[in-house]
Amino acid sequence: MALLRKRVEKFAQGWFAFALWILFIIALYVFPYSGFITEKNELMGTLQTLSQLFVLITLASNWNLIGGMTGYVDFGHAVFFGIGAYVLGVLVTTSGGALWFAPALPFWVALPFAGLAAALFALLIGMPTLRLRGPYFSIAMLGVFVAMREIIRVWKPLTGGGAGLTLPPQNALFGFPQDWFRMGEYLVMVGLMGIAVGLSWWIRRSEFGQTLLAIREDEVGAEMRGINTTYHKIAIFMVASFLTGLVGAFWAWQNTFIDPDVVFFETRTIEMVMMSMLGGLGTVWGPPLGATVLYFLQDLIWANMGDVHLLVLGTSMILLVLFLPEGILGSLSDRSGTSFGGLFSSSKRTEREAAPQEKSVIEKSSGGV
């Protein structure tokens, strides 16, 4: 089993997996021209669906950098999505003309600012919050998220407050005609997803990624072995936030309307966590897989069960945590750590019982007095 796990990991972190990813991205670019779907409205619908899915994949992959690889479970990561959305919204609309001194920027010029603003905010907020561990960090970030939503709501001159901002209609990207407007959106999102997941692959196989895993496994130990944990945590937090800010900006632009409630949407954070967990925390390909599965599962449940779809979804999440806490990819090899898997792997179980040092002891914050 250990060998299988080793092989899966080696493959996932290898160049071949990356090459397959690049090929996949190219295939996605070719897809609209392939003639696979000829009817135009149907094609536009499909592209829109895919764009939505790619937003989720990118968000899950970004969240996984801090939540999965580094082990800092961020329950407020959607705050960076919201900041990205609002920075783009404000720059593109000049707050409905309220910023009379500033020129209205085109999408492409505003986009990097959205990412940078999110990364800068991650730096500022990460310095205090990343000192907290475990549930304290999660709750602090949830607080940041809720606070930011209220700040946006009351900062009316800039953000339009509860009434929101209406962005110019999106039709000019790449010069596509109006009835092909989904094309531009699709192409941008494929690119963003390609970069985000590709970067995740690169980080995971680099020493930087290894240090993140070390921080997740044992932060005191990592610090004692010469890793500047603060620096690494803030760096990855900023990377994850930058990309999430870009996705937020993209989302704002394609939605053409933002207000505090649609942008700072709790479910978005919860989804990032669920998708990463479903696919496999800390793995490169798990979150994209989890996002895909969850997206279609949600659709299926919603279409077939209507009113109770959230109930069914919630129940499936409980089952997921019980039986597949390491997600689809993480559970490929060793299932003995789960309550379900433990029933079937008695040999592993006795081995664990025989081991004197158990996890709870290891995770104490210092070596004892």
């Binding site: 250990a2 130990g221 010469g226 890793i227």
Partner: protein
């Protein structure tokens, strides 16, 4: 013995509320020495270790490593200055393999962000493999650290501490919960590292035989204060020490 201490503590104190876990302890470890730190349970050995490696704040006093004042340094800075330690409660990265554990413990001094974006260098891997063999973990190189036995994890942790090629190693109860054969192995490895590579050791230990076999000097702590210091034989003959360990009736 060189005259300049490698690791020196002056009046080091650490308080937990009103309790002085370490109380005005003076000590010095010179290059090339193997020094023992003993004392009954709760005497402050591990707390002193935590202060020296900067895992815990020092409330009073100063600590110098290679002549540099590290009283307010961060643990990773102390590591960069050449100090490595192990923990009483073993700290290895359980979900990583033995080799990965070693690779990630390499020398991090002076690294820019861009060098981090590459996989581990060949030289790092060579050193990791060498140390894994040196510590008899060769057959387990691809095993997950969480699956190793307690003794194997101790050896792995020592290997991880050796990866950055430190000047001084602080080993916290390297022999607790370890079978006698493996203790001999650890002892042998410490002697080899000390003789051949000139590594300096500071050992916290309950195993008095282990200490007397290895150490040239021993410090004894009791209730956070330095009770005695001297050669192992002097310590063993010291009435105060015997009393602290066994109580008055122990004589």
């Amino acid at each position: 013995m060189s005259t300049k201490p490698l690791l020196e503590g002056r009046q080091v104190s650490k308080y937990f509320g009103g309790l002085a876990a370490v109380n005005k302890v003076d000590f010095a470890v010179y290059p090339g020495e193997i020094v023992g730190l003993v004392g009954p349970n709760g005497s402050g050995k591990t707390t002193l270790f935590d202060c020296l490696s900067r895992v815990q704040q020092i409330d009073e006093g100063e600590v110098f490593l290679n002549g540099e004042n590290i009283t307010t340094s961060k643990p990773h800075q102390v590591a960069h200055l050449g100090l490595a330690r192990t923990f009483q409660v073993i700290r290895v990265y359980r979900k990583m393999t033995v080799l990965e554990n070693m690779l990630i413990s390499r020398q991090w001094r002076g690294e820019g962000i861009f060098s981090l974006l590459k996989p581990s260098a060949k030289a790092t891997e060579d050193r990791a493999r060498y140390l894994i063999d040196f510590l008899l973990l060769g057959p387990l190189i691809d095993e997950q650290a969480g699956n190793l036995s307690g003794g194997q994890r101790r050896l792995l942790e020592i290997g991880m501490a050796l990866m950055p090629d430190p000047d001084i190693l602080l080993l916290d109860e390297a022999t607790s919960g370890i079978n006698p054969t493996l203790i001999e192995t650890i002892k042998d490895r410490i002697v080899t590292l000390n003789k051949d590579e000139g590594k300096t050791f500071l050992l916290v230990e309950h195993n008095i035989n282990f200490i007397s076999d290895l150490c040239s000097r021993v410090y004894v702590l009791n209730y956070g204060e330095k009770l005695a210091e001297g050669t192992p034989d002097e310590i063993k003959a010291n009435n105060e020490v015997i009393e602290a360990y066994f109580g008055a009736e122990g004589e």
